[in-house]
């Protein structure tokens, strides 16, 4: 699978209710590190981290420092925000918008 290396910083999302703000920074050779703040941390903290981690792994990102500020986002929102933040941090379009 194609590997994606995070070299700059990317941000996506907002702090509105039901959204999540995701910041992706480089974290050379230190794996995926997630710093999460969430309004629903007690209930869904682990699930949110799992979604972030899986989305990154699916994209081929092995090393990244993720700062997430969650306001109760659904999994699909989290995936979308992570994908966008990675696109911005790597300056490559990561989402296949057009049907091939």
């Amino acid at each position: 699978m194609k590997q994606l290396t995070i070299q700059s910083t990317g941000i996506a999302g907002t702090l509105e209710s039901s959204d999540i703000s995701i910041t992706i920074e480089q974290n050379e050779d230190k794996g995926i590190e997630i710093q999460l703040k969430s309004t629903v941390e007690n209930l869904f903290g682990e699930q949110i981290k799992k979604v972030i981690r899986e989305t990154l792994e699916d994209m081929g990102v092995n090393d990244a420092l993720v700062r997430a500020n969650d306001k109760g986002a659904l999994d699909c929102t989290i995936q979308a925000r992570v994908t966008s933040a990675v696109s911005r941090a790597t300056q490559t379009p990561c989402y296949p918008w057009e049907v091939k």
Partner: protein, 348 residues
């Protein structure tokens, strides 16, 4: 929740009418517009300002929401807007100075508390590990952690006066940590000031020169928009800076003593020293005020060196600075800095 009449936009700070409208709104919230603001945004309702936020460098400031519009998530909008604009400009590590009663609001926005001066000010950052990473950097530069002493300097530029202070201090402790103030508002750029201190103390084996980064708070970056009285600004700034020094830096590096140069002329610095004289001993850290070194009957000061550079008297400068600084001043790299000094009348 989001009304269609609400509009979010950047403020054109060069337009007097826009600026005045912003100032009038802030005034209603008991705030002022800091002079160094480089970017401001507002949210308007039918053209009337109902929320705003600004920044200068990496400090977000002058954030306010109209009382009548609280609970609509406007502060989140303002904060997201400012953060995105900062990221666009390549700044990802951001800070907020605010009143302690706003701590919860900013904490909900994802900021972490660094330090608090009760009932006066809190400093927050948008990372949970910002200061910890800085302390790790300091520890890595320091080698073995043994009882040590510290000096904080600006060195704009490094003179024989600074050299005297550092030599004096280094002779009286096992290890001396020197912190160079990291704001870039002095005539000599941060990296140059740092390099000249390093070169000028290279022969003192127990001196370690550190970058002050974001945690030695310079009075140039300390915002004043939410503090009413000038005396309060100076004292509050000093208390915040000393609190961070005690809570984090001194503790991590086992600093037991702080040396400062005597300050007979500058009212701000002497007020600062007064706060230290009160706070350091209370935390078990000794403070020693070292009299200035004089030359030709007057104290050697960086401001005098700048004055002489302005008038082009390099021979007189040579008598006041170490060889390392002099070599830089006559080098090509210094040309632009000296040129700028001459064309400005600024005190710094």
């Amino acid at each position: 929740m989001w009304h269609t009449s609400l509009e979010e936009r950047a403020v054109k700070l060069t337009s007097e009418s826009e600026r005045n409208a912003l100032i009038a709104f802030l005034e209603k919230q008991g705030l002022a517009l800091d002079g160094d603001v480089e970017y401001s945004m507002v949210i308007t309702d039918f053209g009337k300002i109902i929320a705003t936020g600004s920044f200068a460098g990496r400090v977000l400031k002058c954030i306010a929401v109209d009382e009548e519009y609280k609970g609509l998530g406007l502060s989140e909008k303002v904060f997201t807007h400012l953060t995105n604009e900062q990221f666009r400009r390549g700044r990802t590590h951001l800070f907020v100075f605010t009143k302690p009663q706003n701590k919860q609001i900013f904490s909900d926005l994802g900021l972490s508390l660094i330090a608090e001066v009760p009932s006066k000010v809190v400093l927050m950052e948008n990372r949970t590990d910002g200061i910890r990473k800085y302390l790790d950097e300091l520890a890595a530069e320091s080698g073995e952690i043994i009882p040590s002493a510290a000096v904080v300097v600006n060195c704009n530029p490094f003179t024989l006066g600074h050299r005297y202070l550092l030599e004096y201090a280094a002779a009286r402790c096992q290890k001396l940590h020197v912190f160079v103030v990291w704001e870039d508002k002095s005539s000599f750029p941060t990296e140059v000031r740092y390099r000249l201190v390093k070169e000028g103390t290279a022969d003192l084996p127990n001196v370690i020169v550190h970058r002050g980064r974001d945690y030695i708070i310079s009075d140039a970056t300390f915002p004043t928009y939410f503090i009413k009285h000038y005396e309060d600004v100076v004292e509050t700034h000093a208390r915040l800076d000393v609190t961070i020094f005690l809570q984090y830096i001194a503790q991590r590096l086992a600093i037991q003593k702080r040396f400062v140069g005597e300050e007979p002329y500058c009212a701000v610095t002497s007020e600062y020293n007064k706060v230290m004289a009160e706070m350091l001993p209370a935390a078990g850290i000794e403070l020693e005020i070292v009299p200035r070194k004089t030359a030709g009957g007057a104290a050697i000061s960086a401001s005098r060196v700048r004055e002489l550079l302005r008038s082009g008297d390099l021979a007189a400068v040579r008598a006041l600075v170490p060889e390392t600084t002099y070599r830089f001043l006559v080098s090509e790299d210094a040309g632009e800095i000296i040129e700028k000094l001459r064309s400005s009348a600024s005190r710094h």
